[in-house]
């Protein structure tokens, strides 16, 4: 579960308007905090030799099942440091890490619902990567990296926001 904070979106907006240098600094700090997760997740992407040969890209591809191209999967693992739009429940995320490729998503969570499927068994037979995390946030790439980060990224993001708020208040007080 993400940490829920109050007033951070407004703070980011105020920073952009009244203290652009602080806004950039905050963004950099957030980036420093969450980059390790995406880097680790990219490191967990298996090479071509570690996935089933039939899953690799080929000239005559049958059907629409996404093939596993390691470089594509790595390129679509990343992070976002600006606030998102509100989701259906009214929450806006302040920082995100994501794994957006189809093959990457499959590799991330395959076997969670059907661990005995032929595909999963074959893949595990060739290269077994551990599922890490808890409950719904359990996976092989991003969730694993997030789990192994032990909340450092979250603390870093919150610290960056808190620091920016304090600095902004300090400036306002001094000038006012």
């Amino acid at each position: 579960m993400p940490a829920s904070v109050k007033g951070a979106v407004e703070l980011r907006r105020a920073l952009r308007t009244y203290a652009p240098d602080l806004a950039k600094e905050t963004q950099k700090e957030i980036k420093v905090a969450i980059t390790p997760i995406s880097k680790s997740a990219k490191g967990y992407v298996p090479d071509r030799g570690e996935v089933l040969s039939g899953w690799l890209p080929r000239q005559m591809s049958e059907g629409t099942f996404p093939t596993f191209n390691p470089s594509e999967v790595k390129s679509k693992i990343g992070f976002k440091t600006s606030p998102s739009k509100p989701n259906s429940r009214g929450f806006r995320s302040l920082a995100q890490v994501f794994n957006k490729s189809r093959a990457g998503s499959i590799y991330e969570r395959m076997g969670k619902k059907s661990p005995d499927s032929r595909f999963v068994l074959n893949q595990d037979g060739k290269f077994r990567a551990p599922l890490k995390g808890k409950d719904r946030m359990q996976g092989r790439l991003l969730y694993r990296a997030y789990d192994e980060n032990n909340g450092k990224a979250r603390e870093g993001v919150l610290r960056a926001i808190a620091t920016a708020g304090a600095k902004l208040n300090q400036r306002a007080t001094v000038r006012g």
Partner: protein, 583 residues
């Protein structure tokens, strides 16, 4: 797409904002509606009646609440403060925009608990501040304060006013109140000065207006005769309401004028004197004073002759009569509406059927179908065309078909009497005719070219069709020169059908075959018939002779012989003469 996304930190912003916006909009619309209703804007007769009833009820309830408060104050020994308490409540409601219906019970609770008017008013002020600041309703805050005054601090601690349980338990009530007054000082005033507070004040004003009108209505209904119909009452009330609204607007305009003029009037001595004189005489106030006196006298009389319940009963009776009359009118209207609805449904069904029929006619319009088919075939032919002349011909045909199609469209439009469609179809037809004209000119040129090319084509030298004519001409020449013919007395042999020329495309080219006896006989007869008289007669000795003419001098025979010999020798050397006999 099933993306894997982890939100590191999030903020809840969405639904709360929506809810706040919804609440604010609802409150505002309710207050505006109340105000519009009170000032009699856009009222129908039925609404006027309903408003009148509501006003009477509001006035009655207000009167009841006043009496209850007075009774409660009397019971706790504060009857002498009843009038001042009522004034205090009226001041509060106009100052903070809170209706007296809420203030009276709150004040009553505190007064009963404290039995002290001054303290009750102090606590009510504090309750208003706490309520405005915390968002709790006034009733629960006053209840908590009154309980705290009596020694029960639980409710006060639950309010969340920033005082710990230990402090509440240890501290005196006066200290707690002092602390609360410090914490929430000015909250109610600040809230009243916001936009929402202004709307609340308007709402309170409208509620008061309703109560005042209701009081007047109670008196008016008591004097209404039995024969006075509700309709008339409603119409008159509507007229009065409209008139009142106009007067209110006029007052607003007048106030603005007065404000403008008052600033300058003191600077002009004559005008100032005149204004003072008018004020002293009181011409403008006289009419209002008379009306006011009449109203007061009427109110006093009404108070003597009856009560509110009687007026309400009278109104209920009148309303029931009005309802019966309205029901009858509505029933008539409903029957008429049913007829109209039935007719409209029938018309709609007929229109639908006519539309379907038109569609059916279009389906079976053979001319159109053929035209469309021809257009389609032209399109297919265009794909197969290889030369520009073919393309031009196809374009010509297509243009003609398009003209035909445009004519059909124009006919349809004329039948439908659709002006726009007729204009459009005419325009399209003209455009198609223009295209056809251009193509037609090119066609003429093409035909000319074709004629020229045909004239340049060589005639057939051997043609079965003209061969007979040629042979007949030769025969005539032969007869004229005295030659004989073997078949002059007989008819020309007839050609067998197998040798007759056939039309193109009917298997003209066939496998090679041997001539039949009939055909061979025909060839023999024909040769004799045509060439028999012309050919030299066959030598009976079996040899044939050739005459060679040698040009030489006359006289010396040897020279002639040598010349002949030389010619023959040369011929032999050339190979053209292989054998010759010496003379």
């Amino acid at each position: 797409m099933a993306n894997v996304v982890i939100d590191i930190a999030a903020e809840f912003t969405g639904k709360k904002a929506f809810k706040q916006a919804e609440t604010a909009t609802d409150k505002m619309s309710k207050n505006v509606k109340k105000l519009a209703g009170t000032l009699g804007l856009a009222f129908s007769g039925q609404q006027i009646l309903a408003f009148g009833k509501a006003s009477i009820k509001a006035a009655a309830e207000d009167e009841k609440a006043q009496k209850q408060l007075a009774l409660a104050l009397k019971n706790v020994g504060l009857s002498r403060d009843a009038a001042s308490s009522e004034d205090y409540i009226q001041r509060l409601q106009s100052e903070f925009g809170i209706v007296d219906d809420k203030l009276r019970p709150a004040y009553q609770t505190l007064a009963v608990a404290t039995r002290d008017t001054q303290l009750a008013q102090q606590l009510l002020n504090l309750s208003l501040d706490i309520s405005a600041s915390t968002g709790k309703d006034l009733a629960s805050v006053t209840s908590a304060l009154s309980k705290a005054y009596l020694g029960n601090n639980t409710a006060l601690s639950k309010l969340g006013v920033g005082i710990s349980k230990a402090d509440l338990k240890a501290g005196k009530f006066e200290d707690i109140v002092s602390q609360l007054e410090t914490t929430f000082a000015g909250s109610a005033t600040a809230a009243a000065n916001t936009f929402q507070g202004s709307l609340d004040k308007l709402g309170v004003a409208s509620a008061n207006v309703q109560e005042i009108i209701g009081t007047g209505l109670i008196d008016a209904l008591k004097g209404l005769g039995e024969d006075g119909s509700v309709d008339n009452l409603a119409v008159q009330m509507q007229a009065v309401a409209t008139y009142t609204a106009d007067v209110i607007r006029g007052i607003g305009v007048m106030i603005s004028y007065i404000q403008t003029v008052s600033e300058n009037i003191n600077k002009i001595p004559g005008l100032k004197t005149l204004r003072d004189a008018i004020n002293k005489v009181g011409i403008g106030n006289q009419a209002l004073t008379i009306l006011n006196r009449l109203g007061k006298e009427s109110a006093a009389t009404a108070a003597q002759t009856g009560d509110t319940a009687q007026a309400l009963a009278h109104l209920a009776e009148l309303q029931s009569r009005y309802a019966v009359a309205t029901l009858k009118t509505n029933t008539k209207l409903t029957a008429e509406q049913l007829k109209q609805l039935k007719a409209a449904r029938l018309k709609a069904a007929l229109d639908k059927a006519a539309l379907a029929l038109n569609k059916g006619e279009e389906v079976f319009d053979m001319e159109k179908i053929q035209n469309e088919a021809a257009l389609k075939s032209q399109t297919e032919a265009l794909g197969k065309a290889t030369t520009s002349s073919q393309v031009l011909q196809i374009a010509n045909d297509t243009a003609r078909l398009n003209v035909k199609k445009s004519i059909f469209a124009l006919e349809d439009a004329m039948a439908a009497k659709d002006e726009a469609a007729i204009v459009a179809a005419t325009k399209k037809l003209n455009a198609d005719l223009g295209i056809l004209g251009v193509l037609g000119m090119q066609n003429v040129k093409l035909v000319d070219i074709k004629t020229i090319l045909d004239s340049l084509k060589p005639k057939d030298l051997i043609n079965l069709m003209n061969l007979e004519a040629a042979l007949a001409s030769l025969g005539k020449i032969n007869v004229a020169t005295g030659g004989s013919t073997n078949v002059s007395s007989g008819a020309a042999p007839s050609m067998p059908s197998s040798l007759q020329p056939r039309p193109m495309g009917s298997g003209y080219l066939t496998k090679p075959r041997a001539f039949t006896n009939e055909e061979l006989q025909y060839f023999e007869d024909a040769s004799q018939y045509q060439f028999g008289g012309m050919l030299p007669a066959a030598s009976t000795s079996g040899t044939s002779g050739n005459t060679i003419i040698v040009n030489t001098g006359v006289g010396d025979p040897n020279a002639i012989a040598e010349a002949i010999d030389q010619v023959l020798t040369d011929a032999a050397q050339r190979g053209t003469l292989r054998q010759y006999a010496t003379p």
